[in-house]
């Protein structure tokens, strides 16, 4: 029946518009979070830069000790991977691209005979990686949206414990690097043993004092640097998450608009059709009555 079709369409338009309202709200919320997340990255930058400066100075202070402490061992039995994703979905490819990169890396390492142990940040990490048969040592949930330094410290301690006990010999981070609001990239980086930051040259020409000696400093620096790097990665992850979510929800809102317009057109045609049919029926009925006189 024509009238029935119209009612079904009206119902569908209503549900599309309800979905649009939700996606629009999520888009606006994500947009408001982006600015805050960016501000937190900016607030973290001086600390991170200064921390790298300290590592460089210390490493250049005693190159022999540095090459011993900072070098990756030749034989790596177990690698710890730290994967940082979000707690929530509906953010485009944000979660899946990090998880796919993690999966690829883990598969590569396994093919070489290296054992892999994964620490996941974000609710999405555990389910995905466990389902694919990886050894997920621990997952951290509840702070991917708005990480604090205490959260980073918590993650770093778990990772550092497994490294310090000799259980794993290398720690690799897989996370999203926030370049600008328009571009983010999945990045794979070694966290431990401490990697020498790029472009390392001493700012202090000549003599630098160390207190205590470089060896003690570098040993304690790794755990501090790990905290700092994980915190930066968490901040960039949360900014990337909100950016991806805003983009995904803007696209979804647009789609809903388009769908509603199309459905409205189909509905109007259906209504017009049923009106035309009704008129035809009335006219032909009247014709029949008149000719019957």
């Amino acid at each position: 029946m024509a009238g029935g079709q119209e009612r079904v369409l009206r119902q569908r338009i209503k549900s599309v518009q309800a979905t649009r309202k939700i996606t629009k709200a999520m888009e606006l919320i994500a947009a408001s979070q982006i600015a805050r997340a960016q501000a937190r990255i900016a607030a973290n930058r001086p600390y991170r830069t200064a921390m790298q400066r300290v590592i460089i100075e210390a490493a250049l202070g005693d190159p022999v000790v540095a090459s011993k402490l900072l070098a990756t061992p030749d034989k790596v039995g177990t690698v710890t991977i730290v994967a940082i994703v979000g707690d929530r979905g509906l953010a485009g490819a944000y979660n899946s691209s990090v998880l796919r990169a993690t999966e690829r890396l883990a598969a590569q390492l396994k093919a070489k005979g290296t054992k892999v142990q994964i620490y996941g940040v974000g609710k999405k990490a555990g389910a995905y990686l466990r389902f694919r048969g990886f050894d997920v040592a621990e997952t951290f949930v509840g702070f991917a949206d708005k990480p604090t330094f205490a959260d980073a410290r918590h993650v770093a301690q778990a990772v550092a414990t497994s490294f310090a006990s000799g259980e794993s010999q290398q720690v690799i981070l897989v996370a999203t690097h926030y370049i600008t609001a328009a571009s983010q990239k999945v990045e794979t980086r070694q966290l431990l043993p401490l990697a020498m930051p790029e472009g390392a040259t001493s700012s202090a020409s000549g003599y630098t004092e160390f207190e205590p000696d470089v060896e003690t400093l570098l040993a304690s620096l790794s755990s501090r640097a790990l905290e700092s790097e994980i915190f930066t990665a968490l901040l960039e992850g949360s900014a990337s998450f909100h950016t991806s979510q805003q983009r995904a929800m803007a696209a979804a809102t647009e789609n809903a608009d388009e769908l509603a317009t199309n459905l409205k057109r189909v509905m109007n045609r259906a209504r017009q059709d049923s009106i035309t049919t009704e008129i035809m029926e009335i006219v032909s009925g009247a014709e029949a009555l008149r000719s019957g006189k």
Binding site: R40, A43, N44, P46, Y47, R48, A50, M51, R53, V54, E57, A58, G61, T148, F149, A150, A152, R153, S203, A204, G206, Y207, T208, E209, F210, E211, P212, T216, L217, S220, L221, R224, E227, S228, F231, T232
Partner: protein, 106 residues
């Protein structure tokens, strides 16, 4: 000899940034004061109170530990204190109180 520029940074914010006449930190080898023109230095900072002496008074920062980097910056000297968790206070007493709560929280 130039001036001494002091920065006290945590991963979440810069707590102090500006010129100062002196900064006193506690390292694993004892208390140390840094003045303008200090030799370049990389040192550790243990949990304690960082005391920054400026022209208009003193600032005390309770810190949980980290690093100190002194480097020349043109003819000035910059001293950067990098700590994990910290709290600014106006007097040494309140900084001490903040310090004990910082240490207790860990």
């Amino acid at each position: 000899m130039g001036t001494l520029n002091v920065e006290v940074l945590t991963p979440e914010a810069a707590l102090f940034r500006g010129p100062a006449s002196m900064v006193v930190v506690r390292t694993s080898l004892g208390e140390m004061a840094v003045l303008a023109g200090h030799t370049p230095l990389v040192g550790d900072v243990t949990a304690g109170v960082v005391h920054v002496e400026t022209a208009d008074g003193s600032t005390f920062v309770a810190v949980d530990g980290g690093y100190l980097n002194v480097s020349p910056d043109g003819e000035n000297t910059s001293a950067t204190v990098l700590v994990g968790v910290a709290q600014v206070a106006t007097s040494r007493e309140s900084a001490q109180a903040a310090l004990s709560s910082l240490v207790a929280a860990q």
